[in-house]
């Protein structure tokens, strides 16, 4: 009896606690659906607007209805310019092509929905995003701590580095029976991009990075960088991202809780304002690593499992309007909110739509890219004095 009580007591307690949960009716006034406006204006590009209906949070539906019967009027610099037409793809298209500095206003009316209005000024992007100085160096070291798992024709090698870990995938046929270690060459690149901030205006930016691997030969082993199924031609890690002016330094990694984001998704973005560097020349400094690996066999020979890697590093600097900046910042906070929601207030996502919800924003992009390469196997120079042994 006592044993049963001890055994099932905690279970009964849990059941008892769970019974304290019940479904309740939402007793407050059920809010009416609102018109949702979505439009992000790019200077000198055609403008389009999406109108949808919001839904009550307890509605048992998974879709959001488009509003196709709205009267949507565009005002440019307070002058009624045109009424936007609804197209087959669910967008309202404007004939007018907005220019940087235009003050736009949208007014929409639709049956059974409150009328909405939103205003936005079309942003002016930075003049140019230029490639700045770049430097590179490399270090070679041996890795003794690794694990390999063979699955059919592929072998996974899990490599523990000091700054993280990699999975290297090679054909099982190439995996030597007698492996005494791995050798890693760590190529470190410092890459800079430069832009000139506009003086006298509050500017908001979003810096995003894109990476694209280009493996050398077809029989090159593939590298698996993280924990999902995105294969890449080499492994890389980002050491730091920062902004620098003559008297200001901003570490863009501060908010980065998980540095693997770039590795997982090949995209990364951070937003910032020019509050502390208004009108200055700004250098975007990126420090990243590419890694090549060799297998060391029982006789001390090095057999390459990767070589001649190329990485295209794309950088996009978007100039955002204040509205769009606030929207994206708050939306990002709201997305992260799930992790800590029980300890924090839910995030109210920014909206500049009066009478409804959504965003009428503006963005202007400037892009630049660099191609980073590691040397081919036959051109490598082994410098034993620079080896680091663990």
């Amino acid at each position: 009896m006592m044993k049963s009580l001890i055994k099932y007591g905690p279970l009964l307690l849990i059941v008892g606690l769970l019974s304290c949960e019940k479904e309740i009716r939402f007793r407050q006034e059920v809010s009416e659906p609102m018109m949702v406006l979505e439009s992000v204006v790019v200077p000198d590009s055609t403008m389009r607007v999406c109108l949808t209906r919001s839904r009550f949070f307890l509605d048992n539906t998974n879709r959001f209805a488009r509003v196709s019967d709205a009267t949507l009027q565009l005002f440019v610099n307070d002058v009624a310019t045109e009424q936007l037409a609804y197209d087959d793809e669910g967008w309202y298209q404007a004939a007018y092509v907005p220019r940087a500095g235009d003050r736009l206003r949208l007014q929409a009316e639709a049956p059974s929905l409150p009328a909405i209005q939103a205003e936005e000024t079309v942003v002016t992007g930075v003049a140019a995003l230029l490639a700045g100085d770049s430097t590179s160096s490399y270090t070679t070291y041996q890795i003794r701590d690794y694990e390999s798992y063979a699955y059919d024709t592929l072998t996974y090698i899990m490599i523990y580095r000091t700054d993280g870990y990699d999975y290297v995938i090679i054909p099982t046929s190439r995996m030597l029976e007698e492996v005494t270690g791995l050798e890693c060459r760590d190529y470190r690149y410092r890459v800079e991009f430069v832009f000139q901030d506009k003086k006298g205006s509050a500017d908001y930016y979003e810096l995003s990075l894109q990476t694209d691997y280009n493996a050398g030969t077809n029989d090159h082993p593939e590298f698996f960088t993280g924990g999902d199924n995105s294969f890449a031609g080499a492994t890389m890690s980002m050491e730091s991202r920062s902004l620098r002016t003559s008297n200001y330094y901003l570490n863009l990694d501060e908010k980065d809780e998980d540095d693997d984001i770039l590795l997982f998704t090949n995209t990364w973005a951070r937003r910032f304002s020019d509050e502390f560097f208004d009108g200055e020349e700004v250098k975007i400094s990126l420090v990243l690593h590419l890694y090549d690996y060799d297998i060391i066999d029982g006789e001390g020979r090095r057999i390459p499992i990767s070589e001649g890697t190329q990485l295209r590093l794309g950088v996009t600097l978007s100039c955002l309007s204040e509205n769009y900046y606030l929207f994206r910042e708050s939306r990002a906070s709201a997305s992260n909110d799930d992790m800590i929601g029980i300890f924090s207030e839910p995030v109210q996502v920014y909206s500049n739509v009066t009478g409804g919800v959504g965003i009428f924003g503006s963005i202007c992009d400037r892009s630049a890219e660099r191609l980073l390469t590691t040397p081919n196997f036959d051109t490598r120079i082994y410098d034993e004095s620079r080896f680091i042994y663990f």
């Binding site: 055994k7 304290c20 309740i24 009716r25 809010s31 979505e38 949070f57």
Partner: protein
């Protein structure tokens, strides 16, 4: 010219009044049975109609003209004493009052408790007799002083079951809780479900919600003044109690009869001991588990020593120590690879947090009119967390071991020196003044990480410590207040409180006027007005409504300024046949430089960058409170009703919350009703009940969903836009007392939430997807804790 004549006339009258022959009667008021000093007991001269109350140390001083006097000494729950004589010189008169155990409702005429009753100038203040608190039904059988205060008007509890306090629209960190005059920084055990105050060690509890006397400062919303028992100076007495989750013992008595007394109380929970059999069973049933122990407990130790050198000098030592602890020790062995090779994993967890409060106090009667109290005190709250994990692998050929540990420590500690003077220069003035200097040290949080990895002969170590730097600040405070009796009908309390706070090379000053005015309309009716300005220099960084041990106190900075408030209050007071006190009070309070967390921001045990996570704004609260209180007799209790509103506005550029629009404060509640009643059926049985009803708490809930850029977002109309269902609950209790050979034993049966009301703790939305139909059903769900909870305890008083 007319004004000059008036000034001359008043000056002459004043000089004349000073030149009249006055003498002073002074002394201590005590309980005749225990020798315990009586706080706020009344001394009243029927002949002149003058009177005073005893101070916090039981001392009184009444200055009267040379004449025959007819003094009456009275205290709630005691039989009054009378003394008549010709006052022709200063006289010391120590009076011992007999407790009224007859349960007769002795009528003491309407001059009781002159500081806060109908006749006193103090308003927005409630004293709850500890005996009455002890009679209330209790959660898990554990009587809680702070939970009893939640039943008073103007005081709201936080979440279900917690002892959090929200006074007149203020936040939980705006309450100054004093134990024998020393601040206690963390007043909660077990996440706030119990307070640190053991009712057995407590003599007196007074709550100030507004019209604060000038001697108090440092918090915006309330002062809870808790005083510990000095100890019986005649013989040893005590009591012990055994409950379902805790036990406690209290012993008091003389070390040197009628000179030195002690009072010691100890309380400890034993849920950790109760779960030990379950742990042992689990460890036994799984061969992989070598060791398995885990638990939680808290304890409180109160100690007070008092020594009387003479009628003029007394020395007191107050000490409190209380800790909460969570621990775990789990060791497992895994032989999954082979019999020769095995993994051993060992997890050790050790969390501790608690307060230490100590005070050395010297009372000195300089002369019959002048009483000096000097206190040196130390208070500290600290939190420490240790987690250790050891994994080892042993096989005939290999041996590896990984050892990692994390420790985190934070603390706040104060050293204080203060002195208070009570001076009664004549029959019209009761002057108090004093100074206080406090050295605060904030240790916001230091983490130490160490790791060791050993593979055969290779060893790798990491040992690092990081965290925020200690911060120190100096707080200085001066005050003076005068309780002035202008005439029989009008009494005035004027005070001035000055504080200076020096931190990080920056000094903040504040001059805070305080005023109270009483119009005595008749012996039973009075009208009072009050004003108080308060400043607060520290903030509590807290994750949530639950009190967590990781909550951190931090000082103001250059960026985050001191909070300040102004409160205006007015009320009507009535005493019915000297038995029941009625009051209706209205208040309006404005608060500035309040802080709130930004949307999505939270505090996770480190103060780093906290200034970036909060916004500064302002708030205001107003309401009406009604209280009917019967404190003595066979039936006691009170009925409290509050209508209140508390709002916030955060609209400073860059610090907007809720789009810069007004929103309700977290614990804004429109209606709050509490009804408590205790009735002594006979010497053997007494019963009690408490019923509470309150408007539901606020929460933020997005009620519309929409899609932008392919992402589904939630539209939140405003902060705290949703209200939980109304809260109500009935608690009942019954005591069965029996006189035994050496004392009285009591069985207490309490039922918390007797009609099993499922009150909201939190709500959430849940979506059920039906793959058959491809439809989704969304529901709003409410989680409740603390449904009906019966408890039983046994106590013995000897």
């Amino acid at each position: 010219m007319k004004q000059l004549n008036l000034i001359l006339l008043f000056s002459l009258l004043f000089l004349f009044s000073l030149s009249a022959r006055n003498y002073t009667v002074s002394g201590y008021l005590r309980d005749a049975a225990t020798g315990e000093t009586l706080i706020s007991a009344t001394v009243y001269d029927r002949h002149s109609g003058k009177g005073v109350t005893s101070n916090l140390y039981g001392f009184y001083s009444l200055t009267l003209p040379e004449d025959s006097v007819n003094l009456e000494f009275s205290y709630l729950g005691y039989l009054p004493a009378r003394e008549s004589f010709l006052l022709d010189g200063d006289r010391t008169l120590n009076i011992s009052l007999q407790a009224n155990t007859l349960l007769e409702e002795v009528v003491v005429e309407a001059h009781e408790n002159r500081e806060i009753g109908v006749r006193g100038t103090q308003m927005s203040t409630v004293a709850v007799p500890v005996g009455q608190i002890k009679q209330l039904p209790a959660l898990f059988g554990e009587v809680d002083v702070l939970k009893a205060l939640q039943l008073l008007p103007g005081v709201q509890g936080g979440i279900e079951g917690s002892s959090g306090m929200y006074v007149r629209g203020g936040g939980p960190d705006e309450n100054l809780v004093l134990l024998d005059g020393v601040p206690v920084y963390n007043v909660n055990h077990a996440g706030g479900f119990f307070s640190v105050f053991n009712a057995d060690a407590i003599k007196n509890v007074t709550l100030y919600k507004g019209s604060f006397p000038a001697r108090f400062g440092g918090r915006l919303s309330s002062v809870v003044d808790v005083r510990m028992n000095d100890g019986n100076d005649k013989e040893i007495h005590g009591n012990f109690s055994l409950g379902l989750i805790s036990s406690k013992i209290n012993v008091e008595g003389p070390l040197i009869k009628e000179k030195t007394t002690f009072n010691v109380s100890l309380r400890r929970t034993y849920s950790d001991l109760l779960v030990k059999p379950t742990m042992a069973y689990l460890a036994k049933s799984d061969p992989d588990i070598n060791r398995f122990s885990a638990g939680y407990y808290f304890y409180d130790l109160n100690l007070k020593l008092a020594h009387r050198f003479s009628d003029r000098d007394r020395l007191y030592l107050s000490f409190y120590s209380g800790d909460d602890a969570i621990y775990a020790n789990v060791k497992t062995t895994d032989y999954t690879d082979s019999e020769d090779a095995h993994y051993v994993s060992h997890l050790k967890l050790d969390w501790k947090w608690g307060n230490l409060v100590s005070a050395l106090r010297w009372n000195h009667v300089i002369n019959p009119k002048l009483f000096l109290n000097t206190t040196a005190s130390y208070t500290r709250y600290r939190f420490s967390m240790g987690i250790g994990l050891t994994d080892s692998y042993t096989s005939p050929t290999d041996r590896s071991e990984e050892d990692a540990s994390l420790t985190f420590r934070s603390a706040i500690e104060d050293y204080t020196l203060k002195t208070d003077l009570d001076w009664q220069p004549d029959t019209r003035h009761e002057i108090k003044g004093g100074a206080n200097i406090t050295w605060h040290t904030f240790r916001p949080g230091v983490s130490a990480i160490s790791a060791k990895e050993r593979t055969n002969d290779d060893v790798m170590r990491i040992d690092t410590t990081y965290g925020d730097k200690d911060m120190a600040s100096l707080e200085t405070m001066l005050y003076v207040e005068d309780n002035i009796e202008l005439n029989t009908f009008v009494k005035l309390n004027l005070g001035l409180h000055y504080s200076d706070y020096f931190v990080s090379g920056q000094s903040y000053h504040s001059l805070q006027p305080r005023a109270g005015l009483r119009f005595l309309l008749s012996d039973a009716w009075s009208v009072k007005l009050g004003y108080a300005r308060m400043n607060q220099y520290i903030h509590l960084l807290s994750n949530s409504s639950i009190s967590l041990p990781t909550d951190l106190w931090v000082p103001v900075t250059r960026q985050i300024l001191p909070m300040h408030s102004q409160q205006y209050s007015g009320g009507v007071f009535y005493q019915w046949r000297s038995k029941v006190d009625f009051s209706v009070e209205a208040y309006y309070k404005t608060m500035d430089n309040l802080i709130e967390y930004k949307d999505g921001a939270s505090f996770m045990g480190s103060s780093t960058g906290w200034e970036e996570k909060v916004c500064m704004g302002r708030g205001w609260a107003y309401g009406v409170e009604f209280l009917a209180q019967k404190s003595f007799g066979r039936t006691t209790g009170w009925l409290a009703y509050t209508w209140a509103k508390s709002e916030r506005l955060f609209d400073r550029p860059g610090q907007e919350l809720n789009w810069g629009r007004v929103f309700p404060a977290k614990y804004d509640r429109r209606h709050d009703i509490s009804l408590t009643a205790s009735h002594k059926v006979s010497d053997r049985i007494d019963v009690s009940a408490t019923w509470v009803y309150a408007t539901g708490n606020c929460a933020t809930l997005g009620t519309q969903q929409y899609v932008v850029e392919g992402e589904t977002l939630t539209y939140i109309e405003g902060r705290n836009n949703y209200r939980f269902e109304d809260y109500h609950r009935l608690d009942v209790g019954i005591n069965f007392n029996k006189k035994k050979k050496y004392g009285i034993r009591t069985w207490n049966l309490s039922v918390y939430n007797a009609y099993n009301q499922k009150n909201p703790f939190f709500v959430y939305t849940e979506s059920d997807y039906d793959p058959g139909t491809g439809t989704v059903r969304k529901q709003l769900k409410q989680v409740s804790i603390f449904t009906i909870i019966p408890s039983l305890s046994y106590s013995y008083k000897f």
